[in-house]
Amino acid sequence: MIPANFQYTRAGSVDEAIGMLKQHGDAAKLLAGGHSLIPAMKLRLNQPGVLIDIGSISELRYIRKEGNHIAIGGGATHDDIANSDAFGGGLEMYPQAAGLIGDTQVRNKGTIGGSLAHADPAADWPAVVIASNATIVVKGPGGERQIAATDFFTGFYETALAEDEILTQIRVPLPAARTKSAYAKFMQPASRFAIVGCAAMITSSGGTCSNASVAMTGVGDAAYKASKVENALKGKSLDSGTIQSAAAHAADGAMVMSDHFASEEYRTHLASVFAGRAISAAV
């Protein structure tokens, strides 16, 4: 459990970190909370030559309302989000999902930016940012870019983030009135990652669904937007029959994973069950 030799540097600001990334190129890796990176390094699955510690950059650690969105700094910890009161009015799934991540130690150190950039296919945040139509703000030598959450996750541990960029902010639009959200997950018992996780955000009017945004994680090689589920809800009366038949499409089109915790068939079944539970809780 001893990593390969590496150099350690600490960045005091985002710009300094970008400069360091440019300087060290391929050899460099950003260290935020470290709860995915350090175990991988200890197993020598990951052997960066230089670690750039961005964990103490205070300008990355915040949660605040800015106009018509909530801005979450990439350095906000899971625990910051779990205990924040910024997520009323339809974004309840943020603190809810945060509270279901790992254990206390992980939540105290791990950051939302680190989790999104790492893009573990079973992580919780990807589903939440997709379902809430968030924008991922990244910064590199050429300045700032905004990437829609739906475009951010490009594959197994792969994102749209370039090697010299830092994920600085998650911008979550304030939902319409009469919107509720929920996150439900079935945990892998040891890692507490999602075997399946569903984030659902439902806007309703008089019992009818006017808008639905549903995303799944843990099911396939990356988190995805469950469009078929959404379409089966929109404009319908939100009774349990509708929800159940919509949720049945939760794994449609996904390359469903199979392991000794859950076969493809069981995972598909769980995807429907947990989609149904998240949607019901968001109604």
Binding site: N5, R44, F186, F261
Partner: protein, 789 residues
């Protein structure tokens, strides 16, 4: 109710004294092997095989040796020069220390890198290039017995198959006849999965050989320091390390659970390197090495059968076992039976016919078979008998609690001779189960279950009423390499009336520093807080066989009581001399002798001890010391009645243990709080294989869950709120009437949980489920039975 004979100040048996050792543990001041740092110490790391079965074509250490700080890379060929490349296992099998040509399981030791610091050693390990030629491994133990299966242990001359041993107990002919004629026969195939002790402290050592005086001090994480010293002398005597030149020190241990009884190759390599370099060598395993390579536990495939009458009388049992020992039989089992004490598997029930047989095989998996918090295969036996008893109840449609009550051995029938030859010392099984049923509200739960079933909800109630067998053991049945399984205590009382007591056992969290002091306090009246307990140094402690299999209280605890009684006899003589009366005129109460009829004339134990050094009677040996080696006349037979309630989500198949009541009977209790702590820990380790733990291998012999990211060791997070209680049925042959308790909950919990889950599904036609019972397995059943789509 526990009645104490001593005052709280004396703190003898029955007092919930806070653990003396906890102050240093809670303050982070424990002294573990990895805390030991010696001048000039070298560090060792081990290159391990990525393959389950492969020829080693070449080991190239040149790149590793170029790294500054890498001192040496040791291979099997290097050890072969000193004939140290093989070692015996505790089961008289053989095991490679380092291979010269073939690796037999994934994570096997291939070479050792020695460096001036731990980090460099790890880098050196990465740089060693090993060229393998992989071969097709045998992973399935049943396939290992196929006629055309390749012979794995080609190192054994004349070996023509993969069979290790065959074992039988009971009466085959009588049993087969009974089963052929019985009204009801039930049968289930069950696997007790391969699991790992996963102690929080991994294994490790510091081998410190001094050339000048030809002396080895071995600091190591061992549960049995004296036995290890003897083993080292037997293995390394030919290079001059005879037993008086070896000192084994086992400092504080962060959990053992049976996994720290065996000798692992790393220890031997460290000794060899220290011997050759003259420098201390430290080796500490990392977490994954510990999980993947150190001795596993369990891995028994059992065909269990029960015969009985339609109205519920149990008449007989039959068990057939296939034991998968992996590459070598590296069990840590000191009995003369290769299946340990599996023959306790006739259970708590009054019948006279049973037959058991077992065969063991080699496969390309890590070696082992350690007794994980278990008296040598008792966990496997109890699972088989308690599961098949429930299966019998289900078959004839009788409530499983009622069936047990009707078949229990009666309190007045003890000592009771079992069909496989054990003499159960004492028990009151009816009282235990009744208390468990009253505590949990059994009848109401059955009503609730019926109502829930009518609504399609899944709820189950599971019972386990087990008999344990602990305290190895009587010298007729138990030895390690010929050394009998006694244990020892030495008590030295200082002139001021305070004492030091030393033992051949070794605590790994059991609280010996407190409980042994309480036993001596009970017998001598010296306050427990004034008794210092020491273990783990072979230079100072009397010879003993160590701590495992719940044997410390039954053996060393008994030795402490008997040694203290020897001192009390001496105290009586001194008191008679001091008070100028005859010994018969004296009366003992904890802490003092007084003259019968004249209680004002008395001498305290402290006054008596002082006199032993300052004013002892002429002709009497001065001082106040005693030693005793206790060879138990029989084992002790603790028992328990456990009831578990589970709820199963009929959509997701998630299983929730709603309640768990554990009533234990471990005879007289030394420290109720420590017993409760033992039971809580043991129940959690029983929950583990029931619902979570199994080491899983693919067909190529790759471990699929070799880290804690995938292998869950349950903690308080997963545990229900354990509800504990006890009945007290003293052991009639033990000096203080105590029995062991450490492993009862680990042994008793898995079948209670499995029975509860099967009970929740039994109306669907489910008769058995293999542990660990995961949501995935339950879902498959729910799907097959049409409960989920």
């Amino acid at each position: 109710m526990i009645r104490c004979k001593t005052s709280k100040e004396i703190g003898g048996m029955g007092h919930s004294l806070k653990r003396k050792e906890d102050a240093r543990f809670l303050a982070g001041k424990g002294n573990y092997v990895d805390d030991i740092k010696l001048p000039g110490m070298l560090y060792m790391d081990i290159v391990r095989s990525p393959y389950a079965y492969a020829k080693i074509k070449n080991i190239d250490a040149s790149e590793a040796l170029k790294i500054p700080g890498v001192v040496a890379v040791v291979t099997g060929k290097d050890l072969e020069k000193y004939n140290l490349h093989w070692m015996p296992t505790l089961m008289s099998d053989t095991q490679m220390v380092l291979p010269t040509d073939t690796v037999m399981y994934q994570a096997q030791e291939v070479a050792a890198v020695i460096a001036t610091d731990r980090y460099t050693a790890r880098d050196g390990k990465e740089a060693v290039r090993v060229d393998y030629e992989p071969m097709k491994p045998i992973i399935d133990p049943y396939k290992s017995l196929d006629a055309d299966a390749p012979v794995l242990r080609t190192d054994k001359e004349g070996k023509t198959d993969n069979h290790i041993w065959h074992w039988e107990a009971g009466d085959k002919e009588k049993t087969d006849k009974l089963f052929a004629e019985a009204e009801v026969v039930v049968k289930e195939q069950m696997h007790i999965p391969r699991i790992h002790v996963s102690s929080i402290e991994t294994c490790g050592c510091v081998a410190d050989y001094h050339k000048v005086d030809n002396h080895l001090t071995m600091y190591m994480t061992t549960q049995a320091p004296h036995a290890i010293r003897t083993v080292i002398a037997l293995v390394a005597g030919h290079v001059g390390l005879t037993e008086e030149k070896v000192r084994v020190i086992s400092p504080d241990i962060g959990g053992g659970f049976g996994g720290k009884v065996p000798v692992y190759p790393g220890y031997v390599i460290a000794i060899a390197v220290s011997f050759l370099t003259g420098k201390p060598v430290k080796w500490i395993e990392d977490r994954s090495e510990n999980l993947q390579a150190d001795s596993f536990a369990r891995d028994y495939h059992i065909t269990a059968e029960m015969a009985g009458t339609k109205d519920g009388k149990i008449l007989g049992t039959r068990f057939k076992i296939l034991a998968d020992h992996g590459y070598t039989d590296a069990s840590a089992n000191p009995s003369k039976f290769p299946t340990g004490l599996f023959s306790i598997g006739t259970g708590s029930y009054d019948y006279d016919t049973s037959f058991m047989e077992a065969d063991a095989v080699y496969t390309n998996k890590p070696p082992g078979g350690v007794a994980y918090r278990c008296s040598f295969r008792v966990t496997e036996a109890v699972h088989a008998i308690e599961r098949i008893t429930d299966r019998f109840a289900l078959e004839i449609g009788k409530d499983p609690a009622q069936l047990r009550m009707e078949n229990f051995i009666k309190k007045e029938d003890f000592p009771w001779k079992s069909p496989t030859g054990w003499e159960y010392d004492s028990g009151d099984y009816h009282a235990g189960l009744k208390l468990a049923m009253d505590t949990i509200g059994y009848d109401e739960l059955r009503k609730e279950q019926a109502e829930k079933r009518a609504k399609g909800e899944l709820m189950g109630i599971g019972i386990s009423t087990f008999t344990e067998i602990v305290g190895a053991g009587p010298s007729k049945d138990f030895d390690i390499l010929g050394i009998k399984m006694f244990d020892s205590a030495e008590i030295r009382v200082h002139p001021t009336g305070k004492a030091i007591a030393r033992f051949g056992t070794k605590s790994q969290g059991q609280g010996h520093e407190t409980t042994y002091a309480q036993i001596i306090a009970e017998e001598l009246g010296i306050p427990a807080e004034n008794i210092q307990v020491e273990e783990g140094d072979t230079d100072t402690a009397p010879y003993g066989l160590g701590t495992y299999a719940s044997r410390s209280t039954p053996t060393a605890g008994a030795a402490a009581a008997v040694a203290a009684r020897k001192l009390r006899d001496k105290a009586r003589k001194i008191a008679a001399y001091l008070l100028e009366v005859s010994e018969d005129d004296l009366e003992w109460e904890p802490g003092k002798f007084s003259v019968k009829g004249a209680p004002e004339k008395s001498k305290t134990i402290q006054e008596i001890v002082f006199a032993a050094y300052t004013n002892h009677p002429q002709g009497m040996e001065a001082g106040f010391e005693a030693t005793h080696y206790y060879d138990p006349p029989n084992l002790t037979f603790p028992s328990g009645a456990y009831i578990c309630v589970v709820d199963i989500d009929n959509e997701t198949a998630e299983i929730k243990v709603r309640r768990f009541v554990a009533i234990d009977d471990c005879g007289n209790i030394i420290n109720p709080m420590i017993v409760q702590g033992q039971v809580h820990g043991g129940l959690t380790q029983g929950l583990a294989p029931a619902m979570y733990e199994e080491l899983i291998y693919d067909e190529e012999g790759n471990i699929l869950n070799g880290t804690f990211m995938d292998y869950l060791v349950p903690t308080a997070v997963e545990s229900p709120s354990w509800e504990t209680g006890h009945t007290v049925t003293p052991s009639p042959h033990h000096p203080i009437g105590a029995k062991g308790v450490g492993e009862s909950p680990t042994v008793g919990a898995p079948p209670a949980i499995a029975n509860a889950i099967v009970d929740a599904l039994s109306h669907l036609g489910v008769t058995h489920m293999e542990i660990p019972i995961t949501p995935f397995k339950v879902w498959k059943v729910l799907k097959e039975k049409g409960v989920v789509e």
